[in-house]
Amino acid sequence: MTVPYDKTFAQKLLHDMLRIRRMEEKCAELYGAQKIRGFLHLYIGEEACAVGALHALAPGDNIVATYREHGHALVRGVPMDAIMAEMFGKSAGCSRGRGGSMHLFDAATRFYGGNAIVGGGLPLAAGFGLADKLQKRQAVTAVFFGEGAMAEGAFHESMNLAALWQLPVLFCCENNLYAMGTALARSEAQTDLCAKAASYAVPTLKADGMDIVAVHEAMKLAARHVRDGLGPFFLELQTYRFRAHSMFDPELYRDKAEVEEWKTRGPLHTFSARLKAESKLTEEEFLALDARANAEVQASVDFAEAAPWEPVEDLLKDVVTPPSPSIPLPPAGEGSNPPPSPARGRGAGGEGPP
């Protein structure tokens, strides 16, 4: 199949995959240099999923992701500077250094994490769908999770709620075959993930997660279904992570040959080869895109390095919303309560995005 996109959009997709790849390669290096600490879960190999999927969504949509979410945040529009600064633990980070790699958040792009409890984002997504439905907003909530999350009760409870209440939620399962080190067949009696989802009377679709065109087309279809008010949708993206689960993983659970086999299907080189074959990309253009990605990465590292550390005196900041004199006690006496004041935090119906 030819790539059904014009040169500009096709190169945009490729560039976004390169941005993720180069950023994460740098993160791995910086981890070795102890600039980045904690857990670092790399998405390398899976880039076609985030890029293909997120380009099918609109600015008013909500994104809920996992702890392997650097790519999703970046493609959604969180500046690489802010992501890198977050990895460094600096207050210039997108979560002010309080979240780290696993908890990237950004109100401006409706990026709601960055959830490191497997399946933890799924009920949240049902809630976003409920809020949009009750407030008659035509938004899609796209929730990303791995196949490991489908063993959690949260998956089943959320699928049931979304289907029962016909909520505008797009369940996007990135099936990379391993829940940390446990292969799908070693943890699930039913390995056909679409069959599990379909048991909740939700339409399902499977797509090759190594093929960005397949991902993007499937996601467009799924998003249209959800946006049209036809209820939730389940999309399985079959993919593979090339790197270890985290920086602590010795990878004892899978064959090197298996990894090498999947690498031949790597989304970057297969897609660029296709574009070249279709005269939508030259080697010079590829090198230029790659150079731009590398320059952006270097700039983000410089930004993160230069950013100041948050003073320890701020430690207790943002545990709860600081008291504000603008929210007085309700007046005493008879009569009805005034409506509760809007939240003072960003994004909670207050000063956040509409």
């Binding site: 908890h103 933890g120 009920p123 949240l124 407030q135 309700p330 007046p331 006496g333 009805s336 119906g349």
Partner: protein
Amino acid sequence: MKMTYREAIRQAMHEALAADPRVFLMGEDVGKYGGTYACSKGFLEEFGPERIRDTPLSELGFVGAGIGAALGGLRPIVEVMTVNFSLLALDQIVNTAAALRHMSGGQFSVPLVLRMATGAGRQLAAQHSHSLENWYAHIPGIRVLAPATIADARGMLGPALADPDPVVIFEHAQLYNLEGELPDDWRCDIATAAVRREGTDVSLITYGGSLPKVLAAAGQLAAEGIAAEVIDLRVLRPLDTETIAASLRKTHKAVVVDEGWRSGSLAAEVMACIVEQCFFDLDAPVARVCSEEVPIPYAKHMEEAALPQVSKIVAAVRQVLGK
């Protein structure tokens, strides 16, 4: 106006639903059934199924959905049938609702109100009777309320809904049938403890379902010539330690009454605060009356033996006073 605690809760929710279209009620059997404790009777007919939302038995799912809905601009009141069942939702409450503001660097507040019944006394045995308020009071990022009076049952919900952060409200199951006068000035804050009875000889510090027992004990003690001051904590997190300390500076003795188990109890936290802040004001060791360290038994006499009772409170006070 005379009313029950249940009716006060109902009126508070009714007022919030009528005043703000963003407010909705969600939980098991809140609609067609009218609420497990009949606190939402008639709401489904009045406000419709979109806003009075019966949920499947999916505590984790619908509490999490409440968090998402709150982030999405609504003001959910999520009812969990009992504190025991809330353990099924604990992940969403602790790992998401309480942590989200902080781990997002202050970008997202979660204006969620979570109501649940708590406590023993109705022979419901070991899976429907526990008092785990202190588990919640342990967690930074949430506010924990324990309305123990008709006025607080009526007054706490409004400011809880106005709070931009998650608020957990514990309603002791023994209080729903409590009847009393709703004062004209029932509107209240959700920040301070209250002195329910003034006294000079000993401070009795308690909350929730134990308040009626403590007031009864204070009445008995008064007949013996002991003037007990009764502090109702009302807000279990953050604790109003100033009200406690002010009382201790007056009475110099304290007994803490808490239906939670003794080890690691909220009572232990209150006692630690007293020792930290009032050590040199104390005339006697601080005492506590808590539940016995046993899953709550079914048999009536055994259940009664497991819980704080008026007689135990009176005995503890006599011991502290050396009488």
